[in-house]
Point group: C2
Amino acid sequence: MEISKSKISLINSLSIGKYRKVHSLFVAEGEKIVSEILQSKLRIKYLICDKNYKIPDLLQYIEIFSADNNTMKKLSNLKTQSQIIAVVETPKYELDYSNLLNGLTLCLDDIQDPGNLGTIIRICDWFGIENIICSENSVDLYNPKVIQATMGAFLRVNVFYKNLSEFIPEYKKITKNVCYGTFLKGKDIYKENLAEQALIVLGNEGNGISKSLEKIIDSKLFIPSFSKNEKHSESLNISMAAAITCSEFCRKSGPV
Amino acid sequence: MEISKSKISLINSLSIGKYRKVHSLFVAEGEKIVSEILQSKLRIKYLICDKNYKIPDLLQYIEIFSADNNTMKKLSNLKTQSQIIAVVETPKYELDYSNLLNGLTLCLDDIQDPGNLGTIIRICDWFGIENIICSENSVDLYNPKVIQATMGAFLRVNVFYKNLSEFIPEYKKITKNVCYGTFLKGKDIYKENLAEQALIVLGNEGNGISKSLEKIIDSKLFIPSFSKNEKHSESLNISMAAAITCSEFCRKSGPV
């Protein structure tokens, strides 16, 4: 069946966070992500496929609407439009502190760039970090650019939005784990004995970790530069810092 | 003086690699990068400033053209247009193998995404890696998106374009250093004794390192995943892999 005008405008509205909340829906594009969603716990409400797209048999139980090339272009959030777009129900899951007792948990203080959040979710997936806690004003997980940048990793990593001034003390009280944060000044991450069970806080792209959170962080870490050039970059991008920090926590050697 | 139509079309043409080569010019935008270029060895041919931009005294010896808001928008390659755009002469520098004897050198086999190249240049700047050798069909350093993503780090890291099938054997012969490469299968990077002087080859975003280069790489490394989920991401993004690899080579501990 051809897609209706009302559905087109609904799907377009899902590029805005407010409407994603109202409808409890989000959009994911492309064969790879859609096939991963099909194998996950998430529920696809319906699919929109290009008229020329050969619909695989395994999609027979899902409502499918067809759209011409031009409409697909309008619906797509990507530069090169997709042949298939899924409208997916936003899952509801509650944070259970007992899941945070073991292993590492990442905390993101006011992360703004969708590409960065997507990349960090992908890093967490790689390093077996199953839970990310974002501050409430961080970029929305279901922003199409975040979903795209995760390359499907959002299906394996839980992202929660919490007031971090409340969450961090609660986490420390319940788990008895250490809370680390990455700063531009602190203890050399390569020389520390890093805990295997811990919370790691990363800050905003421009401003780092906020002053109010800095006070409740137990251990300040920094990634030293190895440049001999005095004018070297002032900081690493937050995704880079996340990759190096997770690698360093996971490699499980003693300090250098 | 107001910018001329011919200059506008010249600057616009510089978003295309062919014209950057013809004119030996490239474009850099924004106060921060322009002020870093001013303090570098590069030569700014002229600047274009928004009509309302208060020109600092230190720019008095540079030819400056003014442009209205609309023109600045047309000239800008960024989403949020800049108040200042520099047209810069492409520097000519020759690869000197004696500079590659000590420390680490990065080799990029057919890197395509400008954001990735920019990010990797920034990582190299952080880790004190002064030279990157790209295969000849890699994305151009002077692509405006690369320049922007480096956040000025392109001023401190040299990028050369070479035929890698010729460069790598030559590098090994002259320096006697080891050549590493990152693969999806290989020796666990965390368990290897990594050399302090070495060449590290990273592959293309989709295809990794090409078959022909694989043969001349001495040691294949891989970054293991710590995920317990069988369906975890198949690979890390190349920038992430570069960040973790450089961190691991630089931290200078023994293996785990």
